[in-house]
Amino acid sequence: MTTAVRVRGLTKRYGDVQAVDGIDLDIRAGEVFAILGPNGAGKSTTVEILEGHRRRDGGEVSVLGTDPGRPTREWRARVGVVLQTANDVAEATVRETVRHFAGYYPSARDPDEVIERVGLTDKAGKRIRQLSGGQRRRVDVALGVIGGPELLFLDEPTTGFDPEARRQFWELIQGLAHQGTTIVLTTHYLDEAEALADRVAVIAKGRIVAEGDPATLGGRATAEATVRWAGGSVETGTPTKTVLELTRQFDGEIPELAVTRPSLEDVYLRLIEG
């Protein structure tokens, strides 16, 4: 398994603020890797350094074998970037814009096919100014993948989406991941990380506080479960046994029974507070 991104001891300071305080990361080729963290935790700074948009103070960074602090055109052609906010190219149509950007790359994908992939075929002739927020974001993704990147960065891609648009967007990203594109995304939404990512890293105060499979992050899978029913609740390592006992006690249906494990959100909140 090859490594797409390798980071060792990354640091970045803004004035008095140590935004990134010694981060190590290994992102494998072909995986979807999510970076979670509260605002100001250093996740966008980290991603912008990986994208070659920002200089680092210290540490070693290798993205597709190249130092992003010295980006070359050849390297740029292999990396796709979808930024947080953009309101540019308002007067051009979707098709014109995607075609124009295709011209920047040595072996671009077919513009009409990319427009189809992001679900904008029926909007292809519309000016970007006339699109909704979600549709604009799809244009951003189309421009991010038009060059056929090996690695795609998505910085908070679904902020401001309605639930339906978010679901559709997830399918789009999953489709790209199936085609073998390595994807690094930052997000505020834990359900998004859970739905998309093979692995997640949680950044707080410029450091990685947890890293792993979203299902087992922070000991989530083995944490004590909570069994709740009308009249009581108990935290236990053996919830099945508790339910059996309750079944006998109630002689059948247990009223309002629920067995829960800590959600990713519970784990996340504990991690970033810690």
Binding site: F101, G103, Y104
Partner: protein, 280 residues
């Protein structure tokens, strides 16, 4: 039955990156297309110098003694100078907006070389300025008795003054685009020096009527020299007596406009910001 076998994954031969020249033309094409789509901006960009010319040319139409020329012809030459400097304002504001709305950041993430972005802007400016100048000349000839140069040498002077002027002011515009704090403040920040420069460089007020200290300040900037160059083309020898030096000083025009091209380039290379101030 035919069996469909997935072709083995052949690593594509590293294809060539598109050339900077091709990308410059591609940038110029999309910039121009987007420029002409903002109808309101297009209408005002082109009508502004026309309206100024018609107003000034009609108010001040008296003859200039001993030259066979009249004041309105001075205005045609002056406003052509001003149109040649449109790039200063268009690029100064346009790039500040591009920085604000994410255009620059998006482009910085692609393999497009920065030179193609600037060349695209400059080519777009060259076109816009050229159209403005053609319109001004047409009005000058039709309404104000302007005489176009009959000899090739006149057009040659026109060509080099125009090209050096557009390049110098475009570069200066790119450099000043880093001054405004945001895209919103850009038009105020950049329009002011441009208007002042027009008043002290002989666009609206003949340079001979300005106090010496003002013309001295104007001499540092390209607009005065552009106007002077265009007067030499369109007013001819008869008008030379109106100049401060009683000559069009074409050698100095070339020298100073050339210096601005080089100085503007250096200024761009040293001060250009890809990111907005907010973005750090």
């Amino acid at each position: 039955m035919t069996q469909i076998v997935a072709p083995p994954a052949v690593p594509a031969a590293p294809a060539e990156l598109p050339s900077a020249i091709r990308l410059s033309l591609s940038r110029a094409a999309i910039e121009t297309r987007m420029f002409f789509r903002e109808k309101d901006a297009v209408i005002f960009t082109f009508s502004f110098p026309i309206i100024l010319l018609v107003i000034f040319g009609s108010i001040f139409a008296n003859d200039l003694e001993g030259t066979g020329l009249n004041v309105s012809q001075l205005y045609v030459a002056g406003l052509i100078g001003s149109a040649t400097m449109t790039g200063f304002q268009n690029l100064g504001i346009g790039i500040a907006m591009d920085r604000d709305d994410g255009t620059l950041k998006r482009l910085a993430g692609t393999p497009m070389p920065p030179s193609a972005y600037f060349a695209g802007k400059a080519l777009n400016t060259l076109l816009v300025s050229f159209v403005q100048v053609v319109i001004l000349l047409a009005i000058g000839v039709a309404l104000f008795g302007l005489e176009l140069p009959a000899e090739a040498s006149g057009w040659l002077t026109f060509a080099w003054v125009f090209v050096l002027g557009v390049l110098g002011s475009s570069l200066l515009g790119i450099a000043v685009s880093s001054l405004p704090r945001s895209g919103k403040s850009a038009s105020a920040v950049i329009a002011m020096p441009f208007v002042v420069l027009q008043f002290i460089s002989g666009v609206f007020i003949p340079i001979s009527e300005l106090p010496e200290w003002l013309t001295r300040i104007a001499s540092f900037f390209p607009l005065k020299w552009m106007c002077q160059g265009f007067r030499s083309v369109f007013l001819g020898d008869g008008g030379a007596t109106l100049e401060l030096a009683a000559s069009y000083e074409l050698d100095r025009v070339a020298l100073i406009l050339g210096a601005w091209v080089i100085g503007g380039l250096l200024l761009c290379l040293t001060t250009f910001r890809w990111k907005s101030r907010r973005d750090g």
